[in-house]
Symmetry: C2
Subunit: 193 residues, 2 copies
DNA sequence: CCAGTTTTAGAGAAGCCTCTCCAATTAATT
DNA sequence: AATTAATTGGAGAGGCTTCTCTAAAACTGG
């Protein structure tokens, strides 16, 4: 019975992703999303009560998409070293396949206004992070190391280092070189020992 | 013969650093700097022709301070592996000693408006980066590896990985744990082989 | 004490952004 | 055909920011 929507939520989020990729989180304004999609500002405010909600949702949708694939890579192998190497590759491969979303991920939740998020969004973000961190902890444990420092080292190897590799090229305005996945995997292997 | 200044450039830059550390680059506005220092907006514009110049100078002052110490660590040892380990430690140690400036460095030049900088600022930034990259290239060479990929791996080990370690803790709102320098050094050693 | 120079001091225009509000539109249901 | 509900479409208030401009202040060398 209602009038059919012309500007659905995912469409607006897609625009927000592109804006974040090109102009950074501060470039994701309600008016910029409106202009880019051709929607009137009223339609944007019909989908998101305020800018904070838009920023939170675009961040969460992106991190959840990333984490879903990352988690799959990390749990898809039995041998922990193999799993780690696959996860490191996966970070780079996902960024290669989704350059705009990857550019968004290189910023932190803080830059997407996390400090102003309502509890529900914070909870969602924490849950995703906890899930990944839990898997990384299990991996560290199955490597025989159970200290917090060992977990931190594994996290550096399987998350932060591949992300850094991507960041370096993105910041230089380059596309990811063909060997990037190999390099991430080699580095992860070296760090896992 | 002139009236003595009450708000000198370094004072305004110090305020800009604090603002960048707490509110990010977008929080570094001319009015915020004015408010924080108690200066009238006219005085801020007397020191910086526009916001772009303020952002550029606060970025450059900080990176140059960091790079000076980093370069010293990287060239302070004869053995390349020892030099690399010292450099990795130095990144973390410097961030520990200068938390606000470190928080600023975790953002990129792009976020400080690099795209709008006049040539002179771009040149200064490039020169600093070239200098560090040159030293890292020499180190890779003295390790017997001379391919671009080897240089990239060394850069990851001695710059990006320690920076990631710092970023992870800063984003979590934590202070750097005592073992952070050790961890950075261990990881660098593992990656240098 | 005067002349000269830098700096302070702050008012105000112009622009962009967020957000509110309400009338008009559109399609399914009755 | 009338009703109903979601959505569009856009005007406009209010706030913050950048930047300009002018006048006054403060100090020093002559």
């Amino acid at each position: 019975m209602p009038r059919p929507p012309r500007f659905e939520t995912p469409l607006l989020l897609d625009a927000a992703v592109r804006l974040a990729a090109t102009a950074g989180p501060s470039g994701v304004t309600m008016s910029a999303v409106a202009k880019r999609t051709g929607a009137p500002s009223g339609s944007v405010y019909h989908r998101f009560p305020n800018r904070t909600a838009l920023l939170a949702e675009v961040w969460l949708r992106t991190t959840e998409r990333f984490q879903e694939r990352y988690h799959a890579a990390l749990t898809g192998e039995d041998d922990p070293r193999r799993a780690g190497r696959a996860a490191a590759r996966q970070v780079v491969a996902w960024c290669r396949a989704h350059p705009d979303e990857a550019a968004l991920l290189l910023h932190g939740a803080e830059e997407f206004g996390r400090a102003d998020w309502p509890d529900e969004y914070v909870r969602r973000a924490d849950e995703g992070n906890r899930r990944v961190l839990g898997t990384l902890t299990a991996l560290a444990k199955s490597l025989g190391e159970d200290t917090p420092q060992a977990v931190e080292r594994v996290t550096l190897a399987l998350v932060d280092l591949p992300v850094s590799l991507v960041r370096r090229h993105y910041r230089a305005g380059e596309v990811l070189p063909p060997h990037a996945e190999d390099l991430a995997e080699e580095c992860a292997a070296a760090l896992l020992g």
